[in-house]
Point group: C2
Chain length 461, copies 2
């Protein structure tokens, strides 16, 4: 183990170069002009895995390639097997003008590397590759088998991972999955994320008049789709911050006192959170703390509104149509199917006949996730965090969604250990995305400490 940790120390410069190389690929999965960049990034990642000593293949899919790499297996040995998941695709970098340095020219400032994909997710999966390199290059026995599954479509819904997993199911069967694609509250508070929210999304379009109409000649005698949309959306949340869709909270599991204590320990203060969000004041469902509201309670959010005249000055029209994009975040035991149908049914019920409504549900959606922080795997991860960071770890529930986690559960029947090296101000999905260099180092170190802890649990299935 000392050899592994000292290898990591000695190679920090190389690992930083590896990260910068990875970040230069414009692997934007959502934008078709970057298709070749995505492919080049996958090929590079495959080569990196092989140089490290892994057996790696880059698999074509109906969409972007999946990189599958594994530690060399010892013939006959029946060792525990763990799956490490990551994604090499990134969010679109727009709006460019808000970046302090170009999104695909990784730049180091104030101990952080700034680039699109730095924290989400290139830096985080490289940390695991760095650790396995240290084992393989120092000839240290890992005492378990590892498989890396690194995909290129996480930011666009991971449509091709499920069929891939079903096809390669036998090779992927494992004790548990490990994902580093989340955050810790600070470098002093390494964290195990034991819960995630699920999500659904949809687009609502209301059509009123056949075309934009003069608000003078027509106004007063016909309905305004923008007003109808406002009235419908406004009615979905009451003054106490509760969603009014009938049945919305029906499947929500109540928070136990123990759970609430745990969430309180892992949450930043309301004041810190307010500063981080940059809001004039906080707002959320009455009766819950901000930490609970954003991780353990369901939401309905408007992500976008579009209607009528968007330009400079004014235009005296009644818009022909109005559109909203909305998402719901789900918590146990809500399901995407149930909440989607409740929301759609309710919208249909409240939509007046002065407009025509079309709802387009977004494909997929993801289940909420909750694992027991008392499980053997969770305890192993907490020990590894303690050793690598030298700090007492916290337990958190993350408000975001990692859809693959529910697929690991349904296809491979395993839990996922979520240990992220992001920080609250890493600006994932935003301009000036960054990764703390200390978090990158500590993440590699954590990964090195994790495998002996997990291996010592033995084979359990």
């Amino acid at each position: 183990m000392d050899a592994v940790l000292s290898y990591l120390k000695r190679n920090e410069g190389r690992f930083l170069d590896r990260l910068r190389e990875h970040l230069r690929f414009q692997s934007v999965s959502a934008q078709s002009q970057h298709r070749a960049d995505v492919r080049r990034c996958a090929a590079w990642l495959g080569r990196q895995c092989r140089e490290i000593g892994l057996e790696a293949e880059v698999h074509a899919t109906a969409g972007h390639p999946i990189v599958l790499a594994r530690t060399p297996r010892r013939p006959g040995a029946k060792r525990p097997h763990y799956l490490v998941y990551g994604h090499y695709d990134v969010q679109p970098p727009e709006p460019f003008e808000l970046w302090e340095s170009p999104p695909f020219e990784p730049t180091i400032r104030r101990g952080r590397v700034f680039a699109r994909g730095a924290t989400d997710n290139k830096g985080q999966h490289l940390a695991h590759l760095n650790a396995v390199e240290a084992y393989l290059k120092t000839g240290t026995d890992l005492r378990c088998d590892l498989t890396f599954l690194i995909e290129g479509e996480e930011e666009v819904g991971s449509a091709n991972v499920e069929p891939f997993m079903r096809k390669h199911r036998r090779a992927l069967l494992c004790e548990a999955a490990v994902i580093s694609d989340s955050e810790m509250p600070s470098l002093e508070q390494p964290a195990l994320t034991y819960g995630l929210r699920g999500a659904i999304g949809m687009e609502i379009v209301l059509r009123g008049p056949a075309r934009d109409l003069h608000s003078g000649s027509f106004g007063g005698a016909i309905d305004n789709p923008a007003m109808v949309l406002c009235q419908m959306l406004a009615s979905l949340r009451d003054a106490k911050g509760r969603i009014t869709v009938p049945g919305f909270y029906g499947e929500v599991a109540p928070l136990s006192p123990g759970e609430r204590r745990r969430l309180a320990a892992g949450s930043s203060s309301g004041r810190e959170f307010q500063k981080l969000a940059g809001v004039p004041r906080l707002f959320g469902e009455a009766g819950y703390t901000p930490g609970e509201q954003r991780s353990a309670r369901p939401t309905l959010e408007i992500n976008g509104l579009t209607s009528g005249y968007q330009g400079e000055g004014g235009k005296t029209i009644i818009p022909a149509w109005a559109r909203a994009k909305i998402t719901c975040r789900l918590v146990p035991d809500q399901t995407p199917e149930r909440i989607r149908s409740l929301v759609i049914r309710h919208l249909e019920r409240i939509c007046p006949r002065t407009v025509e409504m079309r709802i387009t549900p977004r494909r997929g959606g993801s289940l909420p996730y909750l694992m027991s922080p008392d499980s053997a795997e969770a305890q192993a991860a907490l020990r590894a965090l303690r050793t690598s960071f030298g700090r007492e770890p916290v337990l958190i529930r993350e408000g975001g969604s990692i859809p693959i986690v529910s697929e690991f559960k349904s296809i491979l029947k395993v839990d996922t250990l979520l240990v992220g090296f992001g920080l609250p101000d890493d600006r994932a999905h935003s301009p000036n995305e960054n990764l703390s260099l200390a978090a990158y180092r500590l993440g590699s170190r954590f990964s090195a400490c994790l495998w002996p802890e997990l291996a010592s649990l033995g084979r359990r299935r």
Copy 2:
């Protein structure tokens, strides 16, 4: 008179070319990139006036130029003087994709010319210029003096006309003003518009988080500016279609039974109106007919909504800001100042402290207008309509606003004769704006018939 009418007949082709030339100027007053187009349009109009035989000047203002043109005065003659007002600026053409032919390439289909500004207002003021050309070129005595005031900022609030009128007040003093910038119910129902609604406009911007935030990590514990905007706007209109701003109806004069009868006679049926608007069903303030709702009752309309992600698919964000553009239409005796301050005060009262609100009132605004249809001028206009169209005219109140009318009242102390050549489906302010070629011809003919009728009233002030 016969010489005048036959000149109009002979020159129909030329008048159509003149209209097409006028329509090719992209004189969009609201968009700064069209500043030069606006100026070129004014210069062209000045040259047209001079070719016709008018004494014309293009006056620079703090905004867009004003074209002032007058019939050559006879020295010493004290003849009645009438003012003809028009505007050569146009509404923004967006959304481009809904135009069947490009907005600034006038195209004739089905007896109509399609282009931005065709009916609002280029075709309508050209009809008057065509008529005066017929008098001047045939040497027929007009028996009155005319002044044309054609401005370039009607669509953005006419901010520079008032100072201009005050400066040139002596030259503009007249018996009455004449404006053709409204509609008639059909070619068979020429109309005198004896009332207009006033208008105010404003833009509301709500700012929440410092930047777009991840709706998973933050959602639930901070407010969503798009939701707050929806809730604020939604609350401004109740289920009966009444505006809930306290005091909004305080100054509204009740409709007399006679007035309601007159409005009923000049209005299309609810069914026709619904078809014209292309709406699934009508909606308006309870207790009033559609004809009343859209001409004699005040409104508050959303003209545009913008927030968050507008593109394809979804983006899981809480938007940093949300914006609405709204307008109110006013009826006697509401005033822009009073309604503006009531609306702003109410919005400030209902805005929660989870967002920061900035309201930008649009400059200007206009008073509602109502004249007696029994006045000598009104009766003269009705006679000219009867002669030129060969049909019995109707009396209507128009739901739109022509702000200048209240300035003629306050600065020049005169009423305005509103006789428009637009048709209900002329799509003013919408894609595929058009003017009926028959209306353009009949409008020129009406103008030719109007001056003898008015001249015969003599000088009365």
